[in-house]
Symmetry: C2
Subunit: 205 residues, 2 copies
Amino acid sequence: MSMKNVPDIVVGRLPLYLRALSFLGEEGRQVTSSQELGQKLGISPAQIRKDLSHFGEFGKQGTGYDIKYLSEQLRRILKVTEEREVALVGAGDLGRALIHYEGFAGKGFRIALVFDSNPQKIGQTIGPFEVLDSESIETIVADRGIEMAIVAVPASAAQDVVDALVRAGVRAILNYAPITVKVPAGVQVQYIDPVIHLQKMTYYL
Amino acid sequence: MSMKNVPDIVVGRLPLYLRALSFLGEEGRQVTSSQELGQKLGISPAQIRKDLSHFGEFGKQGTGYDIKYLSEQLRRILKVTEEREVALVGAGDLGRALIHYEGFAGKGFRIALVFDSNPQKIGQTIGPFEVLDSESIETIVADRGIEMAIVAVPASAAQDVVDALVRAGVRAILNYAPITVKVPAGVQVQYIDPVIHLQKMTYYL
DNA sequence: TATAGTATGTTTATAATTTCACAAACGCGA
DNA sequence: TCGCGTTTGTGAAATTATAAACATACTATA
């Protein structure tokens, strides 16, 4: 239960555990086991136990894990106990879909600001948001102390947007643009590109 | 250059290499090196060379890689030389965004059919598509011989949709629903869930 | 209270992945 | 043509990740 130097790959699985636990909890279940979780996720029970052991002891021998308790602990470890404000850049089709997406609720995130650079979109209202000028990212995001952002702009604009976000103090970026962006050390980037995922699969067809 | 038993993790990086090469090509570049590619992708040059070595010899010592040639080879290896028809299930906000997304063009994929189960949406026209009844997935997808699908429906409907797709002969599924689905051996699933990606990052904040 | 059945947390072993290091080969300029 | 700087492809070494195995602890039941 070191809590220090936990491998990235382990941290990366914790959200999956949390998601599976949420489902079990919604089904009214109280207790589960590494075996059941593993089966649901396609991960070996031993691996789940080992992953969790990096952070402490959460189960009870002979019984398993209390779903509510383990969920709380994972939320604490992942620091998603409170909802964080996230800035969204890009009010195109994807941006709109993200604005209307209900899956963020209760998972630790809430879109708080929406930016776009298209003069036709600036000032428009989308859902509960007024679209702000991307030029103001640096000031507004910094003022609000927002440290996470979602980038949903074309690849050609992504690096500039990321640069502005970084200057605004953002330290974690989810990038939907199909391009690897440069960020200074200490800023994290995750990528979502459907083409990459699809191409990974065609190899096996 | 075995071509057999290439690790999954290696196959998973090939699309990234291809994407980076495409950008370089669009910039008018003719030649690159494992070092340059690695720098752009945040991957070590040695790893890139080793990954490629599973499939053959594509570079020239002292020079590097011909961008056009290596791109062609990667497309061949990944089997994305022709455009494949992809069925999209779910005509909500996300489905609409995917329909209008221009990033599939030239990358090996083309959305060919759109399904939804909402009677209000069935028959509607979205872009070039008439929305078809999800009930007909099994027959229509099978008839067209489509073997890839994108699932963009709520979590509660995802497993049923996946089951129908599998019965229709689909062997590769990109799942946007935030739930791990069960599929028979031989059917691949890739997941895209922004919450998972965001939660991976908050740990480090 | 004793016993059988479970499931954890951890240690040990196995497997996979990444990095290193270097010979071989190419291009270019003198 | 020779030599220098460069870059590949690859086997060996180092690192990291996964799986197996097991002692311990808990529940339930008789």
